[in-house]
C-alpha cells in the first residue's frame, strides 16, 4: 500500500508492524512526532506495545534495555542533546549485547541552541558498538527500521541497531511511502531471539564485574559481530526486497552512475538525492562523475567501498557532521579506507540549506581542481545565499 507520510510517521508505523512490546519515550525535537504517533496508535488501540513516558533520555534507553534483556522487543527514539545525555546507556546496551532498535532524527548539538539538521549527534556514536544505518528518504527510514529489528535479533549479530535520518528534512517531510503488509512483515521478522533472558527460570545475570581478559574478549566479540554483520545485512536486505517492490537493498551502500565515472562524490542521508540531481546535470555537461551513498556507518564495508571507489581518480566527501579539529567523520573514515586523493567538505551544519545547485558547483569545482592538481584537505563550504555573519567579539576576562 502507498501512503503519503513523513519520516517520523513512517518510523512509527515500522515499530507497529514489527510488533514491538515496550517503547521508552521522551520528547525532543525533531524526533518527537515519532513517539506522539506511537502514543496515539496506542490510544486508538492499534498498538499493543507498553509505552513508558520516562523523565529523561537516559531513562528512555534504560527502559528499552530493561525490557530487551527481559525478553521483549523494544524501541526508543531520540535526537541531539537527548542522544548525548543517553550516551552512557548507549554503551551499556551494546556491552549488554541487547538486541533493540533506536531511531535518531539528527539535529545539531549545543551550545548554542540549534534545532536544525546536522548529523554530528548520530556520528558521535560510531565507537559505541552499535550497528548504524542512515536513511535518505522516509521510505528508507521505514525499511531500515524494519530490517533493523531483524538484523539486531540475528544470532550472528545480537547487537542494538541505530537508524538515523535527517531531522526535519526527512522526519517532517511527507512523501510517498510504500507500506508492506502486516503479514509480510510477520514473515520477515521472526519471533524474538536474544542471547540470554533475565528470568527467574534461567537465573542468568548480566553485567557483573568481569576480569580483564574476559572483558577484552567481549569487546573483541562485539567488534567481530559488527564486522561479520555485513553478510547478515545483505541477506536481510535481499529478503526485504521480496516484500517491498521499491527495495534496493542487498548491498550496504548505494552507487549511482559510478561504474564509468572518473570522479566520485560521497554523501550520506537526504541530500544524496539532491547530489544525484547535480550528478545528472554534470553528466549532461560532459563531466564524468558518479555518487556513492553511505548507508551503513557500522559495519563499515571496506570491501564494498574499495570495489566501488578504489579505481577513481579522486573523490569528494561531503559531510553534514564534524569531528572538530579533524574534519568530517565520513571523510576521515574514507581516508582510512582508500589510498587515492580525497577531499573533504563540511557543510550544512545547524540547518544550513544545501541544494542541488550547491552540489553542482562543489562537484564541478572539485573536478576542475583534481584535474590539474593534487586535491586533499577539508573545506568549510557556505552556500551562496549565506551572507557574512556578524559574530560577537571576544572579551578578555578581568
Amino acid at each position: 500500500m502507498m501512503k503519503v507520510m513523513s519520516g517520523n510517521e513512517a518510523v512509527a508505523l515500522a515499530v507497529k508492524l514489527a510488533r514491538v512490546g515496550v517503547v521508552g519515550i521522551y520528547p525532543i525535537t525533531p524526533q518527537t512526532t515519532i513517539i506522539e504517533e506511537l502514543a496515539e496508535m496506542r490510544a486508538r488501540g492499534e498498538l499493543s506495545a507498553d509505552i513508558v513516558r520516562v523523565e529523561s533520555e537516559h531513562s528512555a534507553m534504560a527502559v528499552t534495555l530493561g525490557a530487551a534483556v527481559s525478553g521483549v522487543r523494544s524501541f526508543t527514539a531520540t535526537s541531539s542533546q537527548g542522544l548525548l545525555y543517553m550516551h552512557e546507556m548507549v554503551w551499556w546496551t551494546s556491552g549488554s549485547r541487547a538486541p533493540l532498535v533506536m531511531v535518531v532524527a539528527t539535529r545539531a548539538v549545543g551550545a548554542p541552541w540549534n534545532i536544525w539538521n546536522e548529523n554530528t549527534d548520530f556520528m558521535s556514536e560510531r565507537d559505541s558498538g552499535w550497528i548504524m544505518a542512515f536513511a535518505s528518504t522516509p521510505q528508507e527510514a521505514l525499511d531500515l527500521t524494519l530490517q533493523a529489528f531483524r538484523i539486531s535479533e540475528d544470532p550472528r549479530v545480537f547487537l542494538p541497531v541505530m537508524v538515523g535520518m535527517d531531522g526535519f528534512i526527512l522526519s517532517h517531510t511527507k512523501t510517498n511511502v510504500f507500506i508492506p503488509s502486516q503479514e509480510d512483515v510477520d514473515n520477515f521478522i521472526p519471533p524474538r531471539r536474544q542471547p540470554y533472558v533475565i528470568d527467574p527460570e534461567t537465573k542468568e545475570s548480566m553485567g557483573n564485574i568481569f576480569p580483564p581478559i574476559y572483558y577484552m574478549k567481549l569487546r573483541q566479540s562485539i567488534h567481530e559481530a559488527i564486522t561479520n554483520s555485513e553478510e547478515v545485512i545483505k541477506e536481510v536486505g535481499r529478503e526485504y526486497n521480496k516484500i517491498s517492490p521499491l527495495g534496493d537493498y542487498g548491498t550496504l551502500n548505494v552507487s549511482y552512475k559510478l561504474d564509468d565515472a572518473d570522479y566520485a562524490v560521497v554523501t550520506m542521508g537526504a541530500w544524496s538525492l539532491d547530489a544525484m540531481e547535480a550528478v545528472d546535470k554534470l553528466r549532461e555537461n560532459g563531466l564524468n562523475v558518479g555518487l556513492y551513498r553511505v548507508r551503513y556507518i557500522r559495519p563499515w564495508s571496506e570491501k564494498e567501498i574499495r570495489e566501488n571507489l578504489g579505481d577513481k581518480r579522486a573523490i569528494l566527501v561531503v559531510d553534514r557532521a564534524t569531528s572538530l579539529g579533524r574534519g568530517g567523520p565520513l571523510y576521515l573514515e574514507l581516508k582510512s579506507t582508500l589510498n587515492i586523493p580525497i577531499k573533504g567538505v563540511v557543510t550544512g551544519l545547524g540547518g544550513v540549506s544545501v541544494g542541488k545547485r550547491d552540489f553542482y558547483s562543489l562537484i564541478s569545482r572539485f573536478v576542475e581542481e583534481a584535474r590539474y592538481s593534487e586535491v586533499g584537505g577539508v573545506e568549510w563550504y557556505y552556500p551562496g545565499e549565506v551572507k557574512e555573519v556578524e559574530l560577537g567579539t571576544p572579551r578578555t576576562a578581568h
Binding site: M2, K3, V4, S6, P30, I115, W116, N117, D166, G167, F168, I169, L170, H172, T173, K174, T175, N176, A270, W271, L273, D274, M276, E277, G351, S353, V354, G355, K356
Partner: protein, 188 residues
C-alpha cells in the same frame, strides 16, 4: 501539468499552512503522482510568518531543499504582501493564488483571488478565533493549476479530517473552486 510542479505556501503560524501542503501532497498521491510536502524547518509560533512547500511530480522527487523558484505561490494572509516578500523567486510564468476580497491586487503575475476568509466564516470554519482558510485555499489552487482534481482533493480531505470537520472542508473547497477569480496578468 508539465512533469513537475513546485508550490510554496505562505501564511502565519496557526493558520494551517503545513496541513495545506500535506493534504495537497496526499491528493496528488491519490492520482499516482509523486509528491512531497514539508514546512520551513523551525520553531512553530502562532502569528509568525510561516512557509511550507509541496512538490508534485510524475517522476521520483529527488530534491529535499526548500523551494526557491516556485511555479505557484499560495498566500493565505494578504497582509504578508506588505511585511515580507512571498513572491520571491516566483517563475516568470508562475501563478499567485491569494486570499483576497474586493478589487484585485496588482502583483505582476497571473493571479487568482478567492475570499477564503469569507467562505471560512460562512461555513463557521473557525478555530481559536481564527478562520481556517488553509484547506479553503486548496480549492482555489486546484482551479488555478488543474492539479490534482477536485475529487482527489476531497478524498484527501476525508483522509486527513474525520467527521464534521472533513465534511465542512470538502464543502469549503467546492465553494472556493466556484468562487475563484482569474485576474489578467498586469505587467508592472
Amino acid at each position: 501539468m508539465e512533469s513537475s510542479l513546485e508550490i510554496r505556501f505562505h501564511g502565519r503560524g496557526g493558520q494551517g499552512v503545513v496541513t495545506a501542503a500535506n493534504v495537497l501532497a496526499e491528493a496528488a498521491s491519490l492520482e499516482n503522482m509523486f509528491s512531497s510536502a514539508f514546512p520551513i524547518y523551525g520553531a512553530e509560533r502562532r502569528g509568525a510568518e510561516i512557509e511550507s512547500y509541496c512538490r508534485i511530480s510524475r517522476t521520483q522527487i529527488r530534491e529535499t531543499s526548500p523551494i526557491e523558484e516556485p511555479d505557484v505561490v499560495v498566500i493565505l494572509d494578504p497582509t504578508l504582501l506588505k511585511i515580507s516578500n512571498p513572491l520571491r523567486g516566483l517563475r516568470k510564468d508562475g501563478k499567485v493564488v491569494i486570499n483576497w476580497k474586493g478589487a484585485s491586487p496588482s502583483v505582476g503575475f497571473k493571479t487568482y483571488t478567492v475570499d477564503a476568509t469569507g467562505i471560512a466564516l460562512e461555513l463557521k470554519l473557525v478555530k481559536s478565533g481564527w478562520p481556517l482558510v488553509n484547506i479553503v485555499m486548496l480549492g482555489a489552487l486546484v482551479k488555478a493549476t488543474g492539479v490534482p482534481s477536485l475529487e482527489s482533493l476531497k478524498m484527501a480531505i476525508g483522509q486527513e479530517f474525520s467527521g464534521n470537520l472533513g465534511e465542512l472542508n470538502k464543502r469549503a473547497v467546492e465553494l472556493s473552486f466556484e468562487r475563484t477569480f482569474e485576474v489578467e496578468q498586469i505587467v508592472a
